[in-house]
């Protein structure tokens, strides 16, 4: 059983347009609404692969009916803490003619101390049911870094493995909490652990080795197709074929879902990376989100290449 934490969930609106033009009246061709936030995305993909998964975090009452019903309909068990402030709404405007994507992200609600404490109480109970917790996505206002760190401390105390999807700004404090798996998106970072990195792959390899000294298992996202994987045994380059010119939204979440799926079966690191890559490739063939079943994932396992990097 896996627990995913989404502290700042969203309702994602996907607006499909033929020719989206800013500052003009645009007719909507089609519109879809899905729950969003990294932890929720990962939970849905895990459930589609047949994993028992619980999703937790904060939801406002007005959004909770839609979000929770969607999750349950997709096989995810829900256990959210309800808050007074509004859940955020994000807008993804997809121009189908050009393939351009315009994203409008809302910051999200403010969580009070009382609401966070209620969440923590529930979180502790939920951890007693699971073998791994995935902590992913942004923090809402009111949840400070030290609050976020408590999620790792409690999981460590209860012997539950933590997997985290993190940006560079939170990497250091996260590594101090000994996470089991770290997925770091370096696409918009110029440094890793305070060391400036260039965009060349050899520089990324250096960053990967730095991570390798700090964690058991970490993955750096270089771009949608290329990843660096660091373990105690060394670095590996990972390439996903068949990703170009396809839907690249949520590929990081898909990668995490595949990794967690495989690690939950006690696979080794390379096998876990193969599954992560396969879910990312499978997910890229869907128009919006998510993969529909394991049948879409299995054929993609052969499209993941892993190459050991000599130090």
């Amino acid at each position: 059983l896996i627990l995913t934490v989404t502290l700042n969930p969203a309702v994602d609106h996907f607006v499909l347009s033929d020719h989206f033009t800013p500052a003009k009246l645009n007719r909507v061709k089609d519109l879809e609404r899905h729950p969003g936030g990294k932890g929720i995305n990962i939970a849905v993909m895990l459930a589609k692969m047949g994993v028992d998964v619980i999703s937790t975090g904060f939801l406002n009452r007005s959004s909770s009916l839609f979000v929770q019903q969607y999750l349950r309909d997709n096989g995810v068990t829900t256990s959210f803490t309800h808050i007074a402030d509004e859940t955020r709404h994000n807008y993804f405007i997809i121009d189908e003619a050009t393939g351009n994507l315009t994203v409008i992200d809302e910051e999200g609600p403010t969580v009070s101390k009382g609401e966070f404490n209620l969440f923590l109480q529930n979180y502790k109970s939920l951890l007693k049911r699971v073998n791994m917790v995935v902590i992913a996505g942004s923090n809402p206002r009111g949840v400070e870094d030290q609050d976020w760190c408590q999620l790792f401390e409690i999981a460590n105390h209860l012997g539950v493995k933590t997997a985290v999807n993190v940006q560079e700004d939170k990497l250091m404090i996260c590594l101090d909490k000994n996470p089991y798996l770290v997925l770091l998106d370096t696409r918009s970072s110029s440094e890793v652990l305070g060391k400036k990195i260039e965009k060349e792959v050899d520089q990324k390899q250096a960053a990967c080795r730095i991570m390798g000294e700090k964690t058991l298992f970490s993955i750096l996202t270089l771009d949608y197709q290329n990843y660096m994987v660091s373990t105690t045994e060394g670095c590996n380059e990972v390439n996903l074929s068949d990703m170009k010119n396809r839907n690249q939204m949520f590929s990081g979440d898909a990668m995490m879902a595949g990794l967690v799926y495989s690690l939950n079966r006690n696979d080794d690191v390379k096998e876990a990376v193969r599954w992560g890559g396969a879910v990312a490739i499978a997910n890229s063939s869907n128009r919006i989100k998510f993969i529909n079943s394991m049948d879409e994932v299995k054929p993609c396992l052969d499209k993941v290449s892993i190459r050991e990097v000599q130090s």
């Binding site: 009452r61 349950r72 096989g75 068990t77 829900t78 309800h82 529930n122 007693k128």
Partner: protein
């Protein structure tokens, strides 16, 4: 049709250490009229409903006439200042009725009819795994997943 086919896979609950003030906030922010009370092992040890909260203030009136007035709510708000820090275990229904995922839905229908229950916790080895809502029985019937005999 089994309970697992109609249950809501939601673990909304309050913890035995929650105060009544926290319980009122939880009840106010979610769609159920009552929720299970669980212990540190996620086992269901009680049930607390909006009615239980109101009963804490007007037991006689509610048991006699089964309802309350606006003035009662205002009194309740004041009363919560007194009971707000008390633990939910002092106000919950103990020995709550629960069902398991493998039980036939017919069993739930009996409980709804005989006991007037609106929400029944679903447990596995005593641990909360979901809820059955009364409305889900109607939905199962409307969707032709359940026969009139079962209902």
């Amino acid at each position: 049709l089994k309970v697992r086919d109609i249950m809501t896979r939601d673990l909304t609950a309050v913890h035995k250490d929650n105060t009544m003030r926290e319980v009122v906030n939880i009840l106010a922010n979610q769609p159920y009229s009552g929720v299970p009370v669980i212990d540190e092992h996620n086992k269901v040890i009680g049930f607390i409903s909006v009615k239980d909260v109101l009963m804490s203030e007007f037991p006689e009136r509610i048991s006699k006439i089964g309802t309350f007035k606006l003035q009662d709510f205002m009194n309740l708000a004041r009363q919560l200042d007194y009971i707000g820090e008390s633990k939910v275990v002092n106000f919950m229904s103990v020995n709550p009725i629960t069902v398991t995922e493998d039980e036939p839905v017919r069993q739930v229908v009996d409980l709804v009819v005989d006991k007037g229950l609106k929400i029944i916790p679903v447990v596995r080895d005593g641990v909360l795994v979901g809820l059955v809502e009364r409305i889900e029985l109607c939905r199962a019937y409307m969707d032709n997943r359940m026969t009139a005999d079962e209902l």
